[in-house]
Symmetry: C2
Subunit: 347 residues, 2 copies
């Protein structure tokens, strides 16, 4: 069957630009945007082309959202929590300390009302969000010396951003904002004492093991952070329906792809880092508990003065209670038994 | 820009039929096929229509793959392990006892070579597979009496299928093949002693709690089972590239959607089942260990006589070792600390 003329009008040739918050060297998190753009092209017979630009090619990485808000570019690939300076509600779309793990985050966003609630909020910035990547739970970062107690955190200069930094401030940490490329020399000179980045695969590229070998886990401030594709709302609304569908489906596929790539690469990188001398250690329960209590204070204070934050936070927290109960049954015991077998070198 | 005439030819009107292995009442696992078909339609401006049929509308649920192999229908939505009677290799595409959890399964399929290896195998049945749903780790099923030791499994008549049944046979279980609708009366009469189905949300619908209240976890034979969309290879190869891309992306989105829906519904259903009198209990470490040893025997025997199985199994096992190591760090400790907070009713 040949298509009627109306069809041709529904498949216009469109070229967009996407600005990423990441450098090309981070092939998984930056690569997620390229995977996304390739799928959109494939889904539209090459008619809808989205060209991906690395951080600083058009705007600096942390201005990606602004560039979409003000229509400098049609879309970006970034992490919502980078923009907590505008409003802490941005954090919830990505990850908040002691929030959801990756599966729970996806469940809440796609089927628990999270995407709708965040889009109501994002609309105030002229953007619509699509989950478009996830790193899995991150590591807690690299420290120049051992951190055993909450007292060891006092005065610690740590490269840690946004909402997590606010929480850590309550424990005496002095948060530092430092771009990725400047972290290594700062750690080497001792200008800072610690730095969190992502996880084994990305962290290995920056060489931290040589200057700050204590590698703590988990990164309790991001148990399953979402990377978003943000689209300028007016530009999105002007698209033909099939192109809107292409953005939505390609973003969902990229969400799965990025996590899968991290889950393949991180185990190998962790093994290599261990061989290079990384001392891989868990945060103590004392530190985790104090951090949780500090986070609860921050949530209480923020909810009291910011109704937008409270609305989305309350939805996430209601789901978290149920999800953390269920997680202990089928999935949790399966994982724990497999860990037990792994420790016995049976798998 | 108006499209050139060539475009019209690349967007033909196509109508396909998809046969599901599931009844409409299972709105999540059956619903995954409807979610998929809707996205394919949206992505192609309504030109590529896939009509979804429930089990038994065209062919019985367990003949879905055959109907695609022999081109009765263009595609199906089913679980690969239903077809282990043809070849045990089918099991690996979905889930094998003590195999991968959901995240690991996706990582291995999409980025660890799993999809390619399985497609080489599926090609022998004239089909190509696309991951198109996941239930998360399943529950271990409903038992009429408590099962504390391996001795309690001896002679137990249990509704459990395929490869898992083969493994359980080594522990003295007598596997029974019973269709979903016939399980309840068999449990009620005592014709069988136990039955595994899916998880809280689906299990609740069949009312098992009234006749077999001991609800064990985890379903160690499916830590993260994939539901597949299978497409007849000749039919797939004849599609325009954008329609192939639509199938691939829509399936990946449905994979995420189904898990998200289960992750929203299962916690609520577990709480309701508990209120209805379900005695929710973990399998003992003795039972899990004996089952693991039995599974290892089956894998050894199967690998020795089936090179197709061995090739795919070896790939999965190589990844499992690394993944189960990494899983214990960032994600595992994050989840365990959240469980600890949940047990203290702090989240």
């Amino acid at each position: 069957t040949l298509a009627a003329p109306a069809i041709a009008q529904s498949a216009p040739e469109i070229k967009w630009r996407l600005t990423s918050s990441f450098p090309k060297s981070l092939d998984t998190i930056y690569g997620g945007a390229e995977f996304f753009a390739k799928r959109v092209s494939d889904l539209t017979d090459g008619k809808f082309q989205i060209q991906v630009f690395a951080a600083n090619e058009i705007v600096p990485g942390l201005q990606a959202l602004d560039a979409v808000s003000n229509d400098t570019v049609e879309m970006c690939h970034t992490v919502s929590y980078y923009y907590v300076g505008k409003d802490p509600t941005f954090a919830i779309g990505a990850s908040i300390p002691f929030g959801l793990n990756t599966r729970q985050q996806n469940a809440w966003l796609y089927m628990g009302g999270g995407n709708q609630l965040m889009d109501e909020f994002y609309a105030g910035y002229n953007v619509q969000g699509f989950p478009c990547g996830n790193t899995g739970a991150q590591m807690g970062g690299w420290f120049r010396k051992e951190i055993k107690t909450v007292a060891d955190l006092k005065g610690l200069k740590m490269r840690i951003g946004g909402f997590a930094g606010t929480v850590m401030t309550k424990l005496g940490v002095v948060p530092q904002q430092i771009a990725g490329g400047d972290i290594y020399p700062a750690l080497e000179k001792g200008t800072i004492d610690a730095a969190e980045w992502v996880g084994p695969y990305d962290d290995e590229k920056l060489g931290f093991v040589k200057v700050a070998p204590y590698y703590y886990y988990p990164g309790f401030w991001e148990g399953g952070p979402t990377v978003h594709a943000f689209v300028n709302i007016d530009k999105f609304n002007a698209l033909p329906p099939a192109y809107k569908a292409a953005i939505e489906s390609a973003a969902a596929y990229a969400n799965t792809w990025m996590l899968a790539k991290y889950d393949i690469e991180n185990p190998k990188a962790l093994i290599r880092l261990h061989a290079q001398g990384a001392k891989v250690l868990p945060f103590s329960v004392e530190i985790l508990t104090a951090s949780f209590n500090a986070a609860e204070e921050v949530y209480k204070e923020t909810s009291a003065k910011n109704p937008k934050f409270k609305k989305v936070y309350d939805s996430l927290v209601a789901y978290r209670g149920e999800a953390d109960l269920w997680q202990q049954y089928a999935d949790g015991t399966f994982d724990r038994f497999m860990s037990y077998l792994q420790q016995q070198k049976k798998v």
